[in-house]
């Protein structure tokens, strides 16, 4: 007998968008691993050969595939180091805010009453402040570092998960099999873990993949305004921020990190978009925004 989980995976992989997304992501990841392991250039290795155009030769056997930046650092190496860094940070954001949001969502829907009301009002307030504004305010208070940027973005995105999880849990809670489980005399905790959570996970994962792309954009934007990564850390937003000063002489220093960032964001959006359609073809959805049909 075929396990149902494998089957789901198979069906998901059959969706073109998801396949393309995974393909792009894997290619970038492989390049990134390759670069981190084998690049002859350290990400902070400076050289007098500044602003070399793409494919220019170098003092090693490797050419500067994407040229060099204003300190003669290899743009290719830095861009793909940044892939690992930004992806890691985005994952940290999603794990942090996702797990807190999950806990809040479950607590809120299960405990109900005053706790639900208080938690959801707090979430309402956080969500009624435009996210990037709040992230900037929090990051400014915490001080500029990539770590603080992660915390700020995580705080801002908690309500997205909390609300989502709460609504899914509430609808799952009403389902007959949960009632049946209750009837069997199972404890609330057991029902949440065994019956409710598995139904939250797919929606949660879909949202998380969308939020990954948001987190990447937020991290880069915070670094761009100076509230995130610091030199010489290879980070897309910081790279673009520095390269912006030289964009007329050396467009590649800004464009290539931006392009790889774009491809990463695109791949997560493709995956998320496809997953969402797969999970709920009836609901009209557009990347990142869920429009309820009445």
């Amino acid at each position: 007998m075929v396990s149902s989980r494998l089957k789901v995976l198979e069906e998901v992989l059959r969706i073109k968008r998801v396949r393309y997304g995974i393909f792009i992501l894997l290619s970038l990841a492989i390049l990134s691993i390759f670069v981190i392991l084998f690049s002859p250039f350290e990400y902070d290795r400076i050289s007098p050969r500044v602003h070399l155009p793409p494919l220019a030769g170098s003092d090693t056997s490797w050419p500067h595939i994407l040229g060099t930046d204003n300190l003669g650092r290899d743009v290719f190496t830095r861009t793909f180091y940044a892939f690992a860094l930004d992806l890691g940070c985005a994952l940290a954001v999603v794990i942090l805010s996702g797990s807190i949001g999950l806990a809040i969502g479950i607590a809120s829907s299960y405990l109900g009453g005053v706790i639900d009301a208080v938690l959801m009002r707090i979430m309402d307030i956080v969500i009624s402040i435009p996210g990037f504004m709040l992230a900037i305010a929090i990051a400014a208070v915490l001080g500029s570092s990539i770590f603080n940027a992660i915390i700020a973005i995580a705080i801002v995105t908690i309500p997205v998960y909390a609300r989502l999880v709460r609504s899914v849990v509430l609808s799952v809670k009403e389902s007959l099999f949960v009632l049946a489980a209750k009837e069997a005399g199972l404890s609330d905790l057991y029902i949440v873990v065994k019956h409710v959570l598995p139904h939250v996970i797919p929606t949660f994962i879909t949202q998380a993949s969308m939020e990954l792309s948001n987190a990447i954009i937020y991290i880069a934007a915070l670094s761009f305004v100076g509230l995130g990564a610091q030199e010489p850390v290879p980070e897309w937003g910081l790279m673009i921020s520095s390269a912006r000063r030289y964009v007329r002489e050396a467009w590649w220093t800004a464009v290539f990190p931006g392009l790889v960032m774009f491809l990463t964001v695109l791949s997560f959006n493709l995956i998320g978009d496809g997953l969402r359609d797969y999970l709920d073809p009836k609901k009209r959805t557009v990347i990142g925004v869920q429009v309820e049909t009445s």
Partner: protein, 322 residues
């Protein structure tokens, strides 16, 4: 109290609040169960018949201890279990739901669904699996289904699983909430047969909820007719079918192909009266549809009165006959 009465309820009520859309003020109540007195003897099957919305499913949920009653008392074997169920009675009351499609968690294997009630009672996993296999056989399924997922099973098979799941805790009282209404006709008969067989084997007590008189007649010993949260007539099945008293029962039976064509009941339904008068007055809940309505019916609600031996009816017409 008669010792072979296993289930007894006294004036059991379940009201739901109606709240306003935005400010959530309580603006009224839905009286889903509105004062139900029942007695079910050991080994008896009580058929609870009513149209949808009559509160029969809510009553089932209250009796299954899934919904807390608003008022009234509920005894199992003479023990008051209205508010809590003593440990030794856990698993003694079980329910089989109407919809076998959504009652099974699609992400759990059959075996995991089946052993859940036993795990809840603290039985260890290995013993539980053994026991579950036995019950699977009892409901006519082979052991290989243990490792299946619900989506691989037919509706009848699923309902068998649900029955097995109800039986694994060795209950004494089983509530069957329209267990066959979602199934196709041929499967219905098989399930009914199965239920009957098991009942005899295990000496179970059933509350059989249905809107289908034919099924009720086949399976039940006693039949209670429910309307708008209340029992309007109750008697053993022969009496109900041969001598229906309540106008509602008569209406129900008239829709039911009767063996005696002469007893056709085709009354004229009186012209409509404003719904509000009905909702807000204290009268009989059936008054709005009753062909035999009198002024009294709009003013006071009738009591359930015993007209003949073990034949009770809730109607003003029979007030004088006692």
């Amino acid at each position: 109290m008669n010792s072979d009465v296993i289930v007894k309820t006294v004036n059991l009520k379940k009201y739901y609040e109606i709240r306003s859309k935005y400010l959530k003020r309580v603006i009224g109540y839905v009286k889903a169960v509105n004062g139900v007195d029942l007695e079910i003897k050991r080994g008896e099957t009580l058929g609870l018949v009513g149209e949808s919305g009559s509160g029969k499913t809510t009553l089932g949920l209250v009796l299954a201890k899934l919904v807390k009653p608003t008022d009234g008392k509920y005894f199992l074997k003479g023990i008051d279990i209205t508010y809590s169920l003593p440990k030794n009675l856990r698993g003694k009351i079980r329910i089989v739901f109407q919809d076998p499609y959504s009652a099974l968690n699609p992400r759990l294997k059959i075996v995991d669904t089946l052993i859940e009630p036993l795990l809840a009672q603290g039985v260890d996993k290995e013993n539980a699996k053994e026991k579950v296999a036995k019950y699977l056989k009892l409901v006519g399924l082979s052991e290989e289904y243990l490792e299946s997922y619900p989506h691989m099973l037919s509706g009848g098979q699923r309902q068998r699983i649900m029955i097995a799941r109800a039986l694994v805790t060795e209950p004494e009282f089983v509530i069957l909430d329209e267990p066959t209404s979602m199934l196709d006709v041929s499967t219905q008969a098989q399930i009914i047969e199965l239920l009957k067989k098991i009942k005899n084997e295990k000496n179970l007590t059933y509350l059989f909820i249905t809107h289908n008189l034919a099924v009720a007649r086949y399976l039940s010993d006693t039949i209670a007719i429910m309307f708008s949260g209340q029992i309007v007539e109750i008697a053993d099945k022969k009496t109900i079918f041969s001598n229906p008293l309540h106008p509602y029962t008569k209406t129900l039976l008239s829709a039911y192909p009767s063996p005696d064509p002469s007893s056709t009941w085709s009354p004229e339904i009186p012209e409509d009266i404003d719904n509000n008068t009905l909702i807000y007055n204290q009268g009989c809940s059936y008054a709005g549809r009753c062909p035999l309505r009198k002024d009294l019916c709009l003013k006071t609600s009738p009591e359930l009165i015993e007209v003949e031996n073990n034949h009770k009816v809730r109607c003003h017409i029979y007030k004088d006959r006692t």
